[in-house]
């Protein structure tokens, strides 16, 4: 295992601060399933916003469908507001190649034309393959391609990072 430790809870507090500055009046939160959706749920509550945030699944627009097929699980897109004309703050756990964000943007556009979209993430791990950037990242690190960084949610709702693979001997 890697010696790198990322305290997801501490980073969340940082993300909350960043999102508070980014969210426009009347703007909506949309979390990318599954990690970003957990974050959006908590942000919605901590920002005192009414009702529920939007959730978006990138599964139907992924560009690796031919290799991987349908990625199972995570849940479907649910946007309880009109996307047309909305100021959308997109939230995700880890920003890496940018491909998930590209797919999520396509999915979002299937519901209408938003007025604006900005992205906030818990961790930007570098390695971009598309011209996509986050307006806010609670942490910026560089990880080798062989490592997988994913957010997990414990039974009590606490967030944790899991880092797998490729760290041996480094």
């Amino acid at each position: 295992m890697s010696t790198l430790s990322l305290d997801a809870e501490a980073l969340y507090a940082e993300l909350l601060r960043g999102v508070r500055g980014l969210l426009r009046p009347g703007g909506v939160l949309v979390g990318i399933r599954s990690g970003g959706a957990w974050l959006a749920e908590r942000l919605q509550a901590d920002l005192g916003l009414p009702a529920t945030p939007g959730f978006i699944s990138s599964a139907l627009h992924r560009d690796d469908f031919a290799q991987r097929g349908l990625a199972g699980g995570g849940g479907a897109t649910a946007l309880p507001f009109a996307v047309e004309g909305a100021h959308v703050l997109l939230v995700d756990d880890v920003l890496y190649t940018g491909r998930t964000i590209r797919a999520a943007l396509n999915e979002l556009y299937d519901f209408g034309r938003p007025a604006s979209v900005v992205l906030a993430v818990l961790v930007d791990r570098g390695g971009r393959e598309l011209p996509i950037e986050a307006a806010f990242a609670a942490a910026r690190i560089v990880l080798p391609a062989a490592q997988r960084l994913t957010l997990a949610r414990e039974a009590d709702g606490r967030l944790d990072f899991e880092l797998r693979g490729g760290a041996q001997g480094r």
Partner: protein
Amino acid sequence: MLARRNPQLNAHGELIHLLSIEGLPRAVLTQILDTAGTFLSVSQREVKKVPLLRGKSVFNLFFENSTRTRTTFEIAAKRLSADVINLDIARSSTAKGESLLDTIANLSAMHADMFVVRHAESGAPYLIAQHVAPHVHVVNAGDGRHAHPTQGLLDMYTIRHYKRDFTQLVVAIVGDIQHSRVARSDIHALATLGVPEIRAVGPRTLVPGDLAGMGVRVCHDMAEGIRDADVVIMLRLQNERMGGALLPSAGEFFKSYGLTPDKLALARPDCIVMHPGPINRGVEIDSRVADGSHSVILPQVTFGIAVRMAVMSTIAGNQA
């Protein structure tokens, strides 16, 4: 002896063709139903299309007539952004004497990625699946009396939608079980998904006795068959079976096995009534039932599109 793999599954146990529900593990069926749930909402979006099959060509090969099934497959493929080519085979090359495999070879040379096949001969889709290139997928849209797996899956989706759980249900299938590929696919699916009581209801001439071997309770009495049922699946009485030795008349059949409000009152108060369509009012089902509050016949059609999208996207995403 060589272990024979199910021809629908690849070495990883993933679905690459859908030929029959028989022999498919519960996890495969459940995954298709879950995926269909995702696709159901696509039809309600501003943009009713997702790009999963963009650039792929789906050939609808209907050697036997069907409007509803062909149309729902066509809509499903188009919602997945595939190019759809409909071939009215009955009126083309086959009529000129071309063999099935020659037809397939020619269409493959046109770069087909998927064949949706309906054929009067049981097993025709299996034959095609054995002869296509590894990247080509085959969906059985009904073969002879054998199977109609997408109808079976959409029936399961419908049942799960209204009843949530399969493991406490009594499901009655009523009518011409003998000649029904829908009944066969439903029975395999219901058994795989854990339905404890499956009943086959109909006259002796139309309900094969060997069904008991599949764990099905055979009932020749309609009242016994639908009493306390949670789900009643009515089958279409095919006109070509009428008047021969199998059935005296449509009127006679309706009297004994037609679903009327009186007979339906024997089932559970919250039961649902299903029918694969097209319905024959006054032959197997009374209009008051077909249009009544228990009927979920039209939702079945809507679910059918989402289920076919799920089947096509699942097999297209798996490699042989």
